[in-house]
Structure formats: C-alpha cells, structure tokens
Assembly symmetry: C2
Homo-oligomer: 629 residues x 2
C-alpha cells in the first residue's frame, strides 16, 4: 500500500507510554482517515457516557491518504473526540501546515488517551516521538507558545497544533490552532486537549511519501494553478475568499443579524468582501500548504480598531464576520478583526464566541443580563467594545465570562426560560453564519448532523439551482430542487451531498478545493486517491465511504443516548418570522415541512424513521456491525 505512512501513533498521557500500530491495508481501505478513522478509535477505545473533559475521553488526530501530496487541498487533518459542548462525537477539520508535516514525520494518525499529570507537549520528528514538559508555555498565547517551543527544539520549521489559554481553561468551544491562523475550531476540541494537559503536538519531518503515481499530482496541480490564475470564479474566490458570502447571503435574506432575528442588514456594505480588501488587506490572502486557491484572509500590519490588531493572527473569514459582525450588529471591520485576533490567540472558536455574544446582547437588551454581569459593558447590539470585552472575558473565564465559556445553551438554561427562547443552538452547539430560515438545507442539516449545526457538511440551497449536468455533482441529484421549498427534494439533496462532503472530510481534503464548484472535481479526488495509493477507487465508493463515516458518527451518538428528539431546531425558527425589511422579511421554517423532510432524510439513509438511528442491516451493509456488538 502506497501513500500512507502505514503507522499510527498511540500515546497514553497518563503513563507516558507509546505504541506504534501498523494496521493492515484492509483497515485503511475501509476507514481511510479523518473522522471515520477517528470514530473507529473512539468507538473501540472509550466507554459510553465518558466525561468529555475527563481522562477517559480520547482524541484522534488523523490524516487522509492524499495528505501531503503537492496539490491544493491536501494540507488538512481531522480531530475526533467527544465534544464537551454537544456531548456528541465531534469531527473538526483544519487546514494549514500541520497535516502534511505529520505525514512527512512518518504517521497517518495520532491517538491520544489519558491525562498528563502536568502540562506536556508531544514532539514527533521523522518517526521518533517523545513527551516534553510544557509548563513554561502553559498559559501562553498561541503565537508565544509556538515561538518558545520552536526555539526550545531548535526547529524553526516545526509545525504545532496547539491550544491557547482558552483550551487550558476548558472553554467549551476552545479550538486547536496550527500556524496561528488555521483551526480545528468547532465543538471544543481545544478544551479536550486542555483537559489532558496537552499544550501542543509538534511535528517535523523529512520523510517523502511514496506515491503510487506522483505524475498525476503534477498534472492536476498545474491545471489547478492555471484555473486560479485565469479570469473567472476561481480567481475571484482567491481574491475575495469566503467573505464573498456576505453578498449572496444578504441577497437571499440569509445574513445572520441581531441574534438570528434578521436576515438582511443595512450595513452589509461595511462588511462585504470588497470593503474588506480595500480597508484591511494589502496583498493576496493567506493560504495552506501547497494550495493554489489561497482563499485565506489576512489583515495588513498596523491595523487599528480602538485597539491595535496583530496581523500574525490572520483575518476574519466570513463565519467570523457573520457571527461576530452582523449577528452582533457590529459593522466596523477592524473591530471584528480584533475579536478574531482574541479568539485566535486564546484559541477559541469564533463562531461559537460570536454566537454567545449575540445571545448575550439580546438578553442584555431584554434586561435578562445587566451591566452587573458584563462588568459594566454596555452589551447592546452594535457596541464594538462590548463584543471585544465579552470575548476576552469568556476566553479568560473571568467573572461572567466563566458562564459564557460554557456556551450559549448552558448559559441560557442557567438564566431561565426567557433567555432560553433566545438560545440558537442545536445539541448545545452554536449555529454557523448560514440561516435556516432562508436556506432550507441548513434547517434540516443543523438538526440532523451528528456533530451539531454545520454549514460545510452538505451543500447549500444555492448550489442546486442550475442546469442539468452542471449542478448535479455526478452523485445522483438531477431533479432541480426548488430553492424555497423544504420538501423531499431537499431532504434527498441534503442526504446525498452530506455523503459527498463526509467523504471529502474522511479523505481530509479541502471542501473548497475538491467539490463541484471548485478547481478540482470528485473525479479528480478519486483519481488523486488512486494516484496516492494504487487503489481502484471510484466516486461510487466515495459516496459509500461518506455514508460509512456518517453512520459511524451516528453509532457513537446512539451509544451516548441521542435520537431524533435531539435532531430538532430552536422554536424561534418555527415561531418567529424574520423582522428585517429586506429579503429575509417574514421568512421562517415550516415545522411540518421540517418534520416531514427529517423523516424522509432518515428513510433515505436507511435509518429508523422514528428514532432516526441506523439499524442492524444498514450497519452490516457498511461493515459496521461491530459498533452495536
């Protein structure tokens, strides 16, 4: 078997011992990488109802078969663990530079269990590994810790997946950073790392992967680069990145504003892509290892909000602009960039952080939270200093920040019924910046996704409206899906595209590089898998792989007691129409249509239409009967 390192490193932080596993090819072929591989170890290696922040939880850092191939989109790794935010399994991916470095260091995955007695970091280099004392970097911001560890090792080229103070303090939505600007952001994977006293996994390698057909990578990479440099969509996407989303989301009434009560905002001009470029950037955006698409957002040096913004932490993506910006009614881009910087240096998810602040602001305006809690901050919508102050409080768990660090859902329950009506979470996890009221796919997806609301676990409404042969993605969606309808067609589109994206995540390739609207297609993706491994993979198998991963995540959740009653939406989405005067006006989710679509989605997946859980036959079909043995 080519491509893979063939080695998986197991580390027990409690005993400080290591084990190197060399699985059979059949294992790789079936579980591939990403969170399919991660779920395998979680299902096998943890007890049901384990405390996510206790030593019984495990974390899996895993790559895919192509990771480290010199072509766009192959610089990603996945962290799988039980989430302290949702209590579900969590699959959290990040791009950057860490993943290829782990491959070059000789491993396909790292399985971390137990808890170190005192802060440590893991150092892996060219097949060797050791745990090292991290007490000197504990408490440090990500940038400072990274610098100190590189210096200590004398390895300026070492790459670190590390946590900041938020992870150490077990903020339930703490993230893991690599190269300061790339994050396993969602679901609190950084808190799990903190709970294990593990500050960083530092990797450095010079082992060249043994690809089956490296020529294909060269050919495709050249074609990809030409696409990005030609005038057209790919170039625009490179120039504007995800901040492009401000415009089209606004156009359909889907820009989250005022804690999800409005879908358009009169200040959209202030936060849109072109404004961002003009005001905050002075060159192309950043990128991940070997990527021609280069969609990341930077901020130029010397940027000042009321505070100086540190450029080394990168700039806000659309999600950050949506959640810390419009949803909190903050239109000052440097202020949003500051919020982003704080989240980055403390190691915290900007989506959940912005979601908590939006919730707090609504509660503040309703008198459910006062300046007593906010330490004097005037936490009304639109107050930039309040945003920045609240985010810093939660990152430090300072005062009321300690409650905010528990996430919206726990905080709402503590505040009582009136606050709970403003709680915009599913499974305790905050929504990303795509509105279920105006994007019907998201209404379904936020409810059913095994690791809670997610915008990149399926395609979105806007992606289904084109011509036959153009937008069907080659995965069996030909019937044009009505944008406005949450009907059967949408349930099918969600189920099918969820499988496709699930496979993308299992290969740990980038959803922005390998998809239908991207520089590389699904056929290119399987061609890359075959070029890496020498296998004979097809898009048909890719879809089954995607289904296998989803069922593994479900199998974990079933074990934890989840069922269809957890696959629901906040009442606000059903009961309260959007109050903006634009395209969002009057939009809400039709509850009956939602319930019917959810049932159809379960049935299309071969799951029980009532419990929403996979039965024995489906698990057997996917080779997963052992998950219920």
């Amino acid at each position: 078997m080519k491509g893979y390192s063939g080695k998986i490193l197991h580390v027990d932080l409690g005993s400080g011992t290591f084990e190197v596993e060399q699985p059979e090819e059949a294992f790789y072929r079936k579980y591939i990488g990403g969170s399919a591989m991660g779920a395998y170890y979680l299902l096998k290696g943890t007890k049901p109802k384990v405390d996510p922040l206790g030593p019984g939880n495990i974390m899996v850092f895993s790559l895919g078969p192509i990771t480290g191939a010199p072509i766009s989109g192959n610089a990603r790794h996945c962290v799988t663990t039980k989430s302290p935010l949702s209590g579900t399994i969590m699959s959290s991916e990040a791009g950057g530079y860490w993943a290829p470095e782990l491959r070059f260091a000789g491993f396909d995955a790292i399985v971390v269990k137990g808890r170190a007695a005192s802060p440590v970091y893991l150092w892996i280099h060219d097949g060797k590994f050791e745990l090292r004392d991290a007490s000197k970097v504990w408490g440090k911001f990500t940038a400072d810790a990274e610098e100190l560890i590189r210096a200590e090792l004398g390895e300026p080229k070492a790459r670190l997946a590390l946590i900041g103070p938020a992870g150490e303090k077990l903020v339930r939505f703490a993230a893991i950073a690599n190269d300061l600007r790339h994050f396993n952001g969602r679901g609190g994977v950084g808190a799990v790392m903190g709970s294990k006293n593990l500050k960083a996994i530092t990797v450095r390698g010079t082992i060249k992967p043994d690809w089956y057909n490296p020529e294909l990578f060269r050919t495709l990479a050249k074609a990809g680069s030409e696409k990005v440099n030609a005038e057209g969509f790919y170039k625009t996407f490179r120039d504007l990145g995800t901040t492009m989303n401000v415009d089209w989301n606004s156009d359909i009434g889907g820009l989250p504003t005022r804690n999800w009560t409005m879908g358009t905002w009169e200040k959209r001009e202030d936060i849109r892509a072109e404004t961002y470029r003009a005001k905050m950037m002075d060159k192309y955006g950043g990128t991940c290892w070997a990527c021609a698409q280069s969609c990341k957002r930077d901020v130029k040096g010397g940027l000042e909000a009321p505070w100086k913004v540190e450029a080394r932490y990168g700039g806000p993506e659309y999600e950050t602009i949506g959640m810390c910006g419009s949803n909190c009614m903050i239109s000052d881009l440097p202020t949003i960039a500051k919020a982003n910087e704080i989240c980055s240096k403390y190691g915290m998810d900007t989506i959940s952080a912005g979601g908590v602040v939006g919730f707090v602001m609504e509660c503040f305006e309703k008198g459910l939270i006062t300046t007593k809690e906010t330490a004097g901050l005037d936490a009304r919508f639109g107050n930039g200093p309040a945003l920045v102050g609240l985010i810093e409080m939660m990152a430090k768990r300072e005062g009321f920040g300690d409650d905010m660090a528990e996430g919206t859902h726990r905080l709402a329950k503590k505040l009582g019924n009136a606050a709970m009506a403003c709680d915009m979470t599913v499974k305790g996890k905050e929504f990303p910046a795509h509105m279920p009221q105006s994007k019907r796919t998201m209404a379904l997806m936020y409810a059913v996704n095994p690791f809670g609301p997610d915008h990149v676990s399926s395609s979105m409404d806007g992606e289904f409206s084109g011509e036959i042969g153009e937008t069907d993605k080659g995965i069996g969606i030909y019937d044009t899906v009505d944008f406005k309808e949450l009907g059967f067609g949408k349930a099918k589109a969600v189920a099918y595209t969820q499988r496709a994206v699930s496979a993308i995540d299992t290969f740990t390739v980038c959803n922005f590089c390998f998809n239908t609207w991207t520089i590389f297609s699904f056929e290119d993706l399987v061609a890359c898998v075959n070029a890496a491994t020498g296998w004979h993979y097809t898009v048909a198998e890719m879809m089954i792989l995607g289904e296998r991963r989803i069922n593994m995540l479900k199998a974990y959740n079933v074990r934890e007691g989840f069922d269809s009653s957890d696959d629901n939406l906040p009442r606000r989405l059903f009961d309260e129409a959007l109050i903006d005067e634009g395209a969002g006006k009057g939009q809400k989710v039709d509850e009956r249509a939602f319930l019917e679509a959810r049932k159809a989605y379960y049935e299309i997946n071969g799951w029980d239409p009532v419990s929403g859980n996979p039965g024995k036959t489906k698990l057997m079909e996917l080779g997963l009967e052992w998950t219920i043995a």
Copy 2:
C-alpha cells in the same frame, strides 16, 4: 444534448400510424435507455393485468447513449415488454448489428403498440419509416425471411430484428433474432412480436451520430484492441468465448446436468471449449459490430451430426451447451449445434428450450411422459435425436410440442404433482446454465430478479474472491465474500452488482466488454457516456441509474400483483442434494440462509422486508413516485 438521435418512434400497428417524439434532455438523463426507458413506456402506456399476447401489450426497442460509438460493446439494444412466459416485465438484450443501424437511421427507441390486422414489417431508413406487407415472409425461417426482405427493399445492408415461425406461433419463449446469430432471447419477446403480426423491424441508416468527444472512443478502442491481441485473459476469451464456462463450472460442481440434479459430469471433456474449437470451428468466432473482443461462437461449414448443421446460424454458446447439452446429458457437440440451429431458424430461446427438454426427459424416465406424447421419441437423458426432435416439435407447436411451447412451468402444472417436483423455474422462467446449488449468488438472484432467473443481472460467486482493490469493482464491495456461504455478504454483493449490471443494461452496453474483468472498466463506461453526451456522469450516478431501473421493473411487477411469495426457488434446490460424485456432490441451498439473505437483500435495497416491494420513499428518492401515483 449530443450522442442521442433525440427521436423516439411510436408506431401503432392497429391504426398503422406513427408519431415521432422528441423528449427533453431531462428525460434522457433520467431514463437513459435500455429497459429503464422501456419500463417508462410500459408503465405509462399499458393497463395493469394486460394480456402479454394481446394488442394491449406494448414493446419497446431501445438503445443507450453510446450505442453506435465505434468501440467494443456498443452494438446492443434492449426489448422491453410484458412477458408471456413469466407475466412479469421483461428486459431482454441482444448484441449484433441491428442497434447501431437503428441509431444511424435516426432513432433512439421504437415503441410498438397494438396489433396489425395481417403480417407486416416495419421499415426504417434515415429518419423515414413505413409499415410493409409481410405476408410473403410469414412462416419463413429467420434466414430466409431476412434474405427476402433485403431483396424486396433492394437494401442488402439492411439489418433486421425479426422472428421465426416460433414467434409467429406464440411459443412462450420465442426470441427475436438479428443477423441470425444474435438474440433478444429470453422471456418470449418473440412471441409478443408474433402476437402483433410484426415479422421484423428492418433498419438502415447513414446518419452519423454527433458525439461530444469522438477522440475518446478512438483512444479507448485502440487500447481495447491492444489488450485483446496481447497474450492473456482477453485473448483467451476471444479464442474460447463463453464455452470457457464448461471448465470452471464443472470444477465447482456447477455444470447443470440431468435436469439440475447433478453438478458435474464425466463427459465434460466432450463439450469443453478446446474440444469445441478443435471439432467445430476453423477460424476465430463471430463478433458484434465494431467489437474487438469477438467472443461469439461459430461453427464451420459442412458440419454433420446425424443431420447437416447450417453454419449461417452460428454456433452454441455456453448457455446452449449447458442447457441443451449437459442438462439433457447430450455430449455430442454437433447435435448440440443442431439444436442451436433449430432454435435459431425458428427463433426460440435455447435456454428455455433446453430447460423444457431436460424437464421432459426427467418426466419420461419417471414414466410421467411416454412415447405417446413424444411421437415415438425415446426421450431418455442422453438421446440426441430426442433432443432435436423435441425442440423441433415445440418450435412448430406440433402435437405434444404445443404443450412444451407453453414452457416448463405450465407443462408441469398440466402433468400434475409428480412432474411439478421436476419443474426448475422461477416465475415460470427456466434457469440459465448456472447452478444455485453451487453458486450462492444465483440462488438469491434467480429468486429476486424482477424478470426471473438470470445469470447476467449480477456478478457471480467466483468474481468476489480476490484481493482488496482488485475485485471490489469500485462499487463498494471490499469485504471478501465467502464462496461457500449464502450470508449477508453475498446478499450485499448481489444487491450492489445487480445495480452495476442494471446500469450496464440501461446503457445497453455489453456486460462482456464493460465490467471489471473485461477490457473496459466502469470508469471507462462513464467516460464513454460523457464522451457521447457531454454530460458529467460518474460511477456513483451509474449505480443510482442501475437502482432506478431495478425499481422501475419492480414497480411494474408490483402493479401486476407480484411480491416476495414469487421470489422463491423450486423445492428441489432446498430438499434434494446433488447426486453427482464430483464437486457438486451433496450441495443444495440452505433454505433458512436463503430466506435471511433475501430479507437482507430487500433491506439493502430499501424495500419492505416482508413484501419485498419498494415503498414510497425509495421510489421518490429515485424520482419514480409517479409509478404509484
């Protein structure tokens, strides 16, 4: 839309009128061709419980998107109609020369309805069409009718899909021939043609299809030709054709012998491929239009059994050798060739014909049938003249032949219980020459296939035993399937490979040219579809297409009242172990395992585990909700 002619010809034989339909691209994209397109017209255009031999039945002759592309395997058409043998929908494919000629004549399909008042033939040439009097050729053997019609039209290059006297006399397993050696053989499609007074569909065309990317066909065809000419499997298959099967079926105890009671035979040497080549051929076998694989069997001129064998009717394939040879215990190859010739000239399925004779021979030996019925023929196993005589009797419906022409199942019911124990049919259709006792896939497939027992509607056991990445076919079967077991793995393998073959048949390409063991792969197949049409088809869509066709065939059968009680096997397979002394010894089908595998198969397909029928959600998922509207 490229590739397709874009026109479908509807002909009403009752009124003698025509209509040319020009469907939207969406129609082609969804129903593609073959029996998916055929089932569409059958479901829309016939009433439930229609008499298969009455004017209310319709026949669809349909191509696929690549038909007529200059590359192996693209010379096939499908006939879809309600079968007079099984009462189910029938999907019967043939290779040869007719299909590309229909495309060059400007049509993608012909839908025939009604019944002509007197014999007619249909003449289609370069977009034009007419019905012509066939009274002068009615009653003629296929070769003679073909010659006369070509002469009448002055078109020596015209291609004919036509029936012989068996079709005219409504033999329930009459076939449709083209170029004398290629047959839509199974299920009595020739009888339906006969019931409509339609002797032939004669086509001739010079319209060049407008392919999207003809270059790909040239490249692939060249590669295919090189494969066939290199030493190795493909060359062997060209040299030996399907007669290769005698050996490997014998090795596993799966050569049908003595009406399905033995799986090995001491005379296998007499009927194996090398003996055939040495004794009956003097050059390479025949072929279909533009095919490099050239697997067809010829017989040399001047061959004599007790009778002269006419070479122009071609030679027996493995199926004929198995059913008219070993299953009747006839080891003389020229006698088998004679039986084949009679079936060909009368236009009759050699599989069903051999099956009926095997049944009659067993009944004769048991005293259930006597020389009174057989007109003096000593119809014991092994008597060559009896084989030839019985086949001629049934082709002519002469005396007892009239009962035999009704097929094994109807004949057995007429003869009573003792005979019914020897009835080796499912849904009234005779088995092809692959034994369910030793090939577990076939035990399941013969029971569940919508148009009855079929050996080329899924892969077979022997195809699943290889290494990872080699035999998984890229469609999601990785777990090695135990050859001896009829368990869940086999149910899944049947379900998945049935979808793949179903798509192959919907594209109307050749299963012996596009598969995993063939010169072209599934990826090559979808690449050809895209080269023909300009679409963006993938193997994933191919699998869904296959599933759609199966569900359409099922939807038709459900309408006719079929359910799981019809998806069963003759008791002999469960109750009586094979009595040969070789590899077949003691083999039978485990009934409990069969029932469990059948249930698993239903569930994997998303069908009701009890009725075995598709429900609303599955039909909606495949865009087929209209079939139950």
